[in-house]
């Protein structure tokens, strides 16, 4: 798993998990992602991505006692693992290499490509 780079949405979710320092859960993660991307992110997409990340060992989840009861379901919060950090750094390095030499996209016109 280490060799692969993260998908775009996976990277966004994982970065948000990092930001929320182990307190992030479905609702909070989705809300911040919606703010950051400017669109109404799908809760289902967030859940699915968190499941995948956990399967790959990039995040870890734990069950919390809810501050207020929510339909009898305990809250599940997520923390990034060392492997997750490694994946983020690897992905950033790969993206940096991909962007290398392209200072600003508007400097490149279709005629020059």
């Amino acid at each position: 798993m280490g060799a692969g780079i993260l998908g775009a949405f996976e990277e966004l979710v994982l970065l948000e998990v990092v930001r929320q320092r182990g307190e992030g859960y479905g609702v909070s993660l989705r809300r911040e992602l919606s703010e950051r991307t400017g669109s109404d992110v799908s809760m289902g997409a967030v859940h699915a991505t968190l499941e995948r990340l956990e399967e790959k060992g990039l995040v870890r989840s734990r069950v919390d006692r809810p501050a207020q009861p929510r339909r009898g379901r305990p809250r599940r919060s997520f923390t990034v693992t060392d492997a997750g950090i490694g994946a983020l750094e690897h992905t950033r390095a790969v993206r940096a290499r991909a962007w290398d030499g392209l200072a600003a996209l508007d400097e490149v016109s279709p005629r020059d490509a």
């Binding site: 809760m43 289902g44 859940h47 499941e51 929510r70 379901r73």
Partner: protein
């Protein structure tokens, strides 16, 4: 009050997630967001809209995750067990469908399980001897004779035994029977064998106790030692552990028991054999062909090698002994000898239940197809939730497999019961029936056909319901009845196939009915009704000479003739339908003189003078034997009609002379005194062949079959016959009693059994086909209620509706008749060896069965037709 999130959207998420925990987690998050943020930000209506959008947006992600989990964890992780649970739930909601489908498959699987047990036990299981494929039975024959299975001469056996060549063991046997006398017990007739050295080595048998015969017992004089079967050890020796060394009184002589055979040993030529005594070849008295020969070849030797070696031996002996000249050998693998006769019948029956199972699968498939069309709404939703076609096909197939599994379990029970019934009513001459049972092979077979049945009856409906047509119709939101209309031709085609197969089985049953009828009617040369037959055997110890034997039988027959109601009494060494018995070759004087030295083979019978009257066999020319014709008088013979015609084509048999010897001296001639009708000694469907009769007074035999004919029920003569015998000699058993009619029935037992079995399978298949016709028509009627309602509202009379439905049923049946007859023709060819008196196309059978099939189809169509006629036009129009 806080507005609630939309329940329908929550339901959607739950269905899409497929996993209650994951659904609950997602819903908890959505609800929290709904309550804590969205209600305030968008208001109740906007928040509900937001919730719906979230729910719909979640569906593809949830489906995708389910797929990933299923692939990652293998199909078992979420697929099959979930599908199986779902199948059980949906089946539980349609108990009538489930019961019908399970019962249909159970019948088909059960019949196949029972028949396969027979196939396995009788035909496929290896014989209970060491390496049975290396054992052969050998026969001899002459070039010109029409009898191909003579036995061997002692000198031929001896040569093979001493110079075995390609054989690891050579052994022979000769049948004997005798009376077992025990103190305080009724005398009992036992079957036995005289066996030569090497016999038990051929079969790889070692005794469970004691030993087999040693060389001194064989080379020396008459050795009064015996080996007994496990069965006899338990009955006559009370299963004593010290049985070896005890004595048995056989025919008045004391035999020492030297060994007991293991319980697994079944004698190859007759399972009733209980006693073995050594064939003392050191004092071989017989020069005739008496020995039944068996050989075990060395590894790598094939039938041709065995045949060549035996032929070479016979040729070598023929150079110095005339009686072996011109004789040749043939060999038969042991398995073929044991089961050859019945194998075709068993395979044909097995094929017929195979057809039955296919009919059952087709029935279940059409039920399932009709059902999946009914449930198109469920299919549509699952498609919408992202289930791929493969997934849906799998779901429907799993449901079929669940039905099949239940059918398989029930079928196993039905098969076990059916097997017990089969064995109970099976004809007595079916070999190895005691080896038939539900062994691991049978269970594996049942599991296999259950799986096949589930796949077969599930795949077609599954592919059909989810196929491109199905998907396209779903996409356009077409109504259920459009899908139904598309399924109709397939359903109809399935039912037509069922009708065809059922018709073929019916024709097969009809052919067997004709066969049994023809066998009953065939001329057998004697009058079956009104006569009783039984066996009496005189032990050599007390009835040594010819005079004593003939005197006993004369006195006994005279006494029997005195029983009230008796009109005729006779005796013979072999009775009709009793088997081949002794065979001899003879020639007429005219042919010998003219140089036609090829002798004619005939069944050799010894008879008392009144035998023919007792049997009801017509005397066609000359006379029967005279009571005073004994060993002091010139030898006489009676010939059967066809033998007389063969030896004396120009006529004039009576008064002519015949001989058994190839180079006769003056003392070797016998005079023909009479000609009688041909009698059937073998089986009703065998050619009659040639028979010759010697006078019992001139050629006495100790064991005779006695025939008593009289008025009324012949069975009532049994008790007085037994009493008279006991009066004359209380140590003599009377055994093998049956009326001649019973003997005839027993000889037909195999064909009668096949007929009954076929009739049963044919009936079940016709009922299933009728159920299929009913199902298709009921389905069509239910889908076209609106159309029917419109028609009736527009003035169509109810009778026209009924006619239309019944007519469709008749059309389905009629369409199946053509292919059914083709299938029946193929079946008839496969049944060739089982049929008698049935050649070519049997128009009567075909006509009757086709008419029956049509009638049953029309009857099956009646109920849906009646229901269609009862449709209330206004209700039907409103319902849509």
């Amino acid at each position: 009050m806080t507005p609630e999130s939309p329940a329908a959207a929550r339901w959607l998420v739950r269905r899409a997630a497929g996993d209650a925990t994951r659904a609950a987690d997602l819903l908890a998050d959505l609800d929290e967001e709904f309550r804590t943020h969205q209600l305030a930000a968008r208001g109740p209506r906007g928040a509900r809209l937001w919730y719906w959008r979230q729910a719909w947006a979640a569906v593809p992600h949830l489906a995708s995750r389910r797929w990933e989990r299923a692939r990652a964890g293998g199909w078992a992780a979420e697929g099959l067990p979930a599908d199986a649970r779902y199948a059980v739930r949906t089946l539980g909601r349609s108990p009538l469908y489930a019961a019908t489908a399970v019962l249909t498959l159970a019948l088909g699987i059960g019949a196949n399980t029972a028949l396969f047990s027979v196939v396995r036990g009788v035909l496929l299981a290896p014989l209970p001897y060491g390496e049975p494929e290396r054992i052969y039975r050998a026969w001899t024959h002459t070039d010109d004779g029409d009898i191909a299975d003579f036995s061997f001469r002692v000198v031929e056996y001896r040569d093979l035994y001493e110079r075995p060549g390609p054989f690891a063991a050579v052994g022979a046997e000769f049948p004997i029977s005798g009376t077992l006398n025990a103190p305080d017990a009724e005398p009992v007739q036992v079957e036995g064998r005289m066996v030569t050295p090497g016999f038990f080595e051929v079969f790889g048998v070692t005794p469970a106790a004691g030993r087999t015969f040693g060389s001194d017992e064989i080379e020396g004089g008459e050795a009064l030692v015996a080996l007994v079967s496990h069965r006899l050890w338990r009955s006559a020796l009370a299963g004593r552990p010290d049985a070896v060394g005890s004595t048995l009184d056989l025919d008045g002589r004391a035999f020492t028991v030297i060994g007991v055979l293991p319980p697994s040993y079944t004698h190859v030529s007759d399972p009733d054999v209980d006693v073995f005594i050594p064939y003392t070849i050191g004092t071989s008295r017989w020069i005739a062909r008496w020995l039944d020969l068996y050989v075990r070849v060395r590894p790598g030797v094939e039938a041709e090698g065995a045949l060549a070696a035996i032929d070479a031996t016979i040729d070598r002996i023929g150079e110095r002994e005339e009686r072996s000249r011109g004789w040749h050998a043939s060999v038969e693998p042991l398995a073929h000898m044991v089961v050859g006769d019945v194998s075709r019948t068993v395979w044909v029956l097995f094929a017929s239940v195979g057809l039955l199972l296919i009919i059952a699968c087709v029935n279940t498939a059409s039920l399932s197809l009709a059902r999946s069309v009914e449930r198109i709404a469920g299919v549509r939703l699952r498609f919408a939730l992202g289930a791929g076609r493969a997934r849906l096909v799998r779901q429907i197939v799993v449901e079929s497999l669940v039905v099949a599994a239940l059918g398989g379990l029930a079928g196993l029970a039905i098969g076990a019961l059916g097997l017990r019934a089969l064995v109970a009513i099976a004809p007595p001459d079916v070999p190895r029936l005691d080896e038939v049972g539900l062994d691991p092979w049978v269970l594996a077979f049942t599991a296999g056909i259950t799986l096949a049945a589930g796949l077969l009856s599930g795949l077609v409906p599954a592919l059909r319901a989810t196929g491109p047509d199905g998907a396209a119709r779903l996409a356009t939101g077409a109504r259920g009845d459009v899908a139904a209309r598309g399924a109709q031709p397939l359903l109809a085609g399935l039912v037509v196939a069922e009708v065809a197969m059922a018709l073929a089985l019916l024709v097969g049953a009809g052919l067997l009915v004709r066969t049994v009828g023809a066998l009953h009617d065939t001329e057998m040369g004697f009058e079956a009704p009104g006569a009783l037959a039984f066996q009496v055997s005189l032990p050599a110890a007390r009835y040594r000479g010819a005079a004593e034997v003939t005197g006993f039988y004369r006195r006994y027959l005279d006494a029997l003739a005195g029983i009230g109601g008796v009109t005729a009494v006779g005796a013979a060494a072999d009775l009709p339908l009793g088997g081949r018995g002794a065979v001899a070759s003879l020639n007429s004087e005219a042919r010998v003189l003219s140089g036609e030295l090829d002798r004619v083979s005939a069944l050799q019978r010894r008879a008392t003078p009144t035998l023919f009257r007792a049997l009801g066999t017509p005397l066609l020319d000359g006379r029967t034997f005279l009571p005073e014709e004994d060993t002091s008088r010139p030898d006489v013979l009676v010939l059967s009609e066809s033998l007389a015609r063969a030896l004396f084509p120009a006529g004039g048999a009576v008064g002519s002379r015949v001989t058994f010897r190839p180079s006769p001296g003056e003392e070797d001639w016998l005079t023909v005194v009479g000609v009688v009708a041909d009698v059937q000694y073998l089986a009703p469907d065998a050619p009659l062949g040639f028979q010759l009769y010697e006078a019992h007074g001139q050629s006495p035999v100790r064991q005779m079959g006695v025939v008593v004919r009289g008025d009324g029920d012949p069975a009532r003569f049994l008790a007085p016959a037994r009493a008279l015998l006991r009066e004359m000699d209380p140590t003599l058993p009377l055994f093998g009693a049956a009326t001649l009619s019973e003997r005839v029935e027993r000889s037909l037992a195999r064909q009668a059994f096949a007929m009954r079995a076929f009739a049963l399978f044919a009936t079940i298949s016709v009922l299933m086909a009728a159920a299929g016709v009913y199902g298709v028509l009921a389905f069509a009627v239910s889908r076209r209620r609106r159309e029917i309602g419109v028609r009736m509202a527009l003035g169509a009379p109810r009778s026209r509706v009924v006619t239309a439905v019944v007519g469709r049923g008749a059309a389905l049946a009629a369409a199946g008749i053509g292919p059914g007859l083709l299938l029946a023709w193929a079946l008839q060819r496969g049944m060739r060896g089982m049929l008698f008196g049935v050649e070519g196309v049997q128009l009567a059978v075909v006509g009757v069965t086709a008419a029956c099939t049509l009638a049953v189809a029309v009857a099956a169509a009646w109920l849906p037709a009646a229901r269609a006629a009862r449709v209330d036009p206004s209700a039907a129009l409103r319902a849509e």
